[in-house]
Amino acid sequence: MRNPRSRRRAPLLVLGAVALLGAAALFLSSSQPPATKNLATASTGITMALALDEIDPLAAAPSGSVARPPPIRLSGPSAERLTQNLIAYQRAAIYPPWSRAFDPGTEYLLTWNKPATVDLPMDERPGQETTYHFDADRAHVAYGEAITSWIEVWKNGDPNQRMPIVVEDAYVMATTGPKPGRTVKLAYHDDGQDGDAVAGDLRYSNRLVPSKEPDLAQALQVHLMAVVSCCDGIRRSFMREFTYAPRKVLEIVGISDSIRGGNLALTLDVDVAEKGVYGFEANVMSHDGSVAIGFATANQTLGTGRAKVDVIFFGRMFGEKGIDGPYLVRDIRGERVFMDGEEHNIPFTYPSTYTTRAYRRADFSSDEWNSPEKTDKIARMKKLIADANAGRTGPPVPSHIHIDENGVARPVNDPPAAE
């Protein structure tokens, strides 16, 4: 039996020799910045285990027994692919992450408050197929607003063939907060009252004002839940998610506009009830609202009281869409953002639209987005491509590090891939 100590030393000596070569290479390389002790600052919560004695590949490995079946080998383009990534980025980064012209992929923002519903099978037995539809009039409920939801079961997936159902039980269910589970009990009815549009039409409705419910006084992650039976005893549990504002966190009390740096700046005059990080969004349209031009987002940390928030529509979109002003700004909205999960994000809306001054599209810059972020990212991509083309690799580094439950990063010695 081998001495465990010598068994530990052998790879250590090999590692040390490799490390000497690596250190020499690093010393000779002028392109690398000087070493620092820690992988990250304390603020990130990640520290690097430095002592070699602490390296325990098995302890650090994500799994004690990792399956290694014979792999298949893929060939890929490497530098060619990295170039493809660069080109795709340059194409996308004509616009910044915070404001873009509308395209087919982003037009969903024009119906930003429409719930993303999917019709699902209630009874899938052959010949008895029914589907259910659990919908609501909004996905985000601002302070004081109501959410009206309704349930329908359709024969053969036909919305015109509604079936009678029994809503056995329904609640607002919380998935976060001190006591996840049932909060507000709900009644779904088909009597033409209190949110139900038409009596007896087999559409069962409920109207709820979250901000009036004591059990929803904290902003929780919630969904509507209904246990529904129908069709010879078939039962399902339905879900419909929404967010809500239990209290007023911010009010938009005024709006103005200007051209700034070739962009359209929408300046919101806000009255902040709670200090914190806030996100803002808005859509800009042609004056008559018929042409969707673009969207903008902004984030700002705000203290309590009055403040100004700029939501910047990137100037290039106006020329690209070929639309002169005045412009209609709509869907002005936002949320208080809780980044540590202490509450769910709290939505707010501006209940009206805003019309800008009569700018001409030529008043705005047609330039592409430019910023240190973009410049830096592109420079890194180009360096990688150049390295790949030249066959250069970086300095020797651990091939794998694992960050454990305590935030400590440890090198891992992966077993060689078997082929």
Binding site: L12, K37, N38, P71, W112, V337, S399, E419
Partner: protein, 379 residues
């Protein structure tokens, strides 16, 4: 003398293991639901370090797993001012965690200029119908097919992913390449089988997630071509080509020949090919080979034929990642159509409840604790 040489080597080796302190190149791996570690398949490339993280993929989205562990890792290895360059490989629910972390970092002023691109394997960032649709025994199909109910399931409905978390979807700011598979996952139950794609509403799917999610499509629905789908900003369907030894592209627009379990391996191979020109894929899958017919009604709530199955294991029982079974509610060994909390934590069961309020109402199912609902219902 030998001792001093050893000491010198150790000192220099110590410098070596601290090499990540230099500006470097990193691939950060973010596991999904069902795993508490990455699956062991990482990128091996000179000058690049694979970074894996210990976090519970079962945990809710808006918790320390996302808001601290994932966010800190992205900040450390991809952040502006670090000098690092990084690629993120996210899998399934890990992609929704990535999007939230990136959104929060950006909101906090970190523009992540070191983030070169992300690769999403079987991204569940757009949600899955299996997290919403229940059996007639009120068990979500996601919980049944994967063999355990997890806390993250409440974030993976289509409505939660696209409405509750809508603000994280559209502002990634770097290319987010995505792909997924078309292979179904069927699991053998006591008398019948249960197959994920049967409930994913037509279109292409990988047994757990539909192409509408894993392609980055901005609208839920049945789609069969990931390249053509209208997508959230910065999303691209990754159609390669990544060719096997026969010259066949493994990631066509119509989906890869993988199920949900096999996608992260293929994704890692694709990243290996991106960086080095070659990559290795272990081509795993999680479906059972069975001649059973598909279940209907309460038959879909039956126990698995092999009750020890777990998504962290291959069907033959080999571990690929750290299990999250201890924080999940098992559905492989329990019939879930009766008055049971297995697979029903946080909600209603059949004649009783499994949420944290049930003790107050006096209507908890008798197996509330055994089903692990105390853990799943913890704040």
């Amino acid at each position: 003398m030998r001792k001093s040489v050893f000491a010198a080597a150790a000192i220099v080796a110590g410098m070596f293991v601290s090499a990540p302190a230099f500006a470097g190149n990193y691939v950060v791996f973010l596991q999904g639901r069902g795993w508490a570690s990455w699956n062991g398949e990482t990128v091996t490339a000179a000058g690049w370090t694979s970074v894996t993280l210990a976090f519970n993929g079962n945990a809710k989205l808006d918790g320390p797993e996302t808001n601290t562990t994932v966010k800190n890792a992205i900040s450390t290895y991809c952040g502006t001012g670090t000098g690092n360059s990084c690629v993120i490989h996210c899998y399934s629910a890990g992609c929704l965690r990535m999007l939230k972390a990136v959104k929060d970092l950006r909101a906090g002023g970190n523009t992540l200029s070191g983030l070169l691109f992300a690769e999403g394997s079987g991204s569940a960032a757009g949600g899955t119908k299996l997290a919403e649709l229940s059996t007639t025994g009120l068990t979500k199909y996601l919980a049944k097919i994967i063999g355990q109910q997890e806390k993250i399931d409440f974030d993976l409905t289509t409505g939660a992913a696209r409405n509750t978390w809508s603000s994280v979807q559209n502002g990634f700011g770097a290319n987010f390449w995505q792909f997924g598979g078309y292979k179904d996952i069927c699991k053998s139950l006591l008398f019948f089988k249960i197959c994920g794609n049967s409930y994913l509403g037509g279109g292409t799917a990988d047994g757990v997630v539909g192409m509408d999610s894993y392609s980055g499509a901005s609208t839920a629905g049945a789609i069969t071509n990931g390249c053509n789908a209208a997508k959230y900003s910065w999303r691209i369907y990754d159609s390669g080509p990544y060719n096997d030894s026969s010259g066949n592209n493994q990631t066509p627009c119509t989906g890869a020949a993988r199920d949900h379990f096999g996608e992260p391996g293929l994704g890692t191979a694709m990243l290996g090919a991106d960086i080095t020109g070659t990559g290795l894929d272990y081509k795993r899958s999680w479906g059972d080979t069975t001649g059973q017919t598909g279940c209907t009604g309460t038959a879909c709530d039956a126990t698995f034929t092999s009750t020890t199955q777990n998504f962290s294991l291959t069907p033959s029982g080999t571990s690929v990642a750290t299990s999250v079974a201890s924080t999940s509610s098992n559905t492989t060994a329990h019939t879930t159509s009766g008055a049971t909390c297995y697979g029903h934590c946080g909600g209603a069961s059949n004649g009783c409840y499994c949420d944290s309020a049930c003790a107050g109402y006096g209507d908890c199912c008798s197996d509330y604790a055994a089903a692990n609902c105390s853990t799943l219902n913890a704040p």
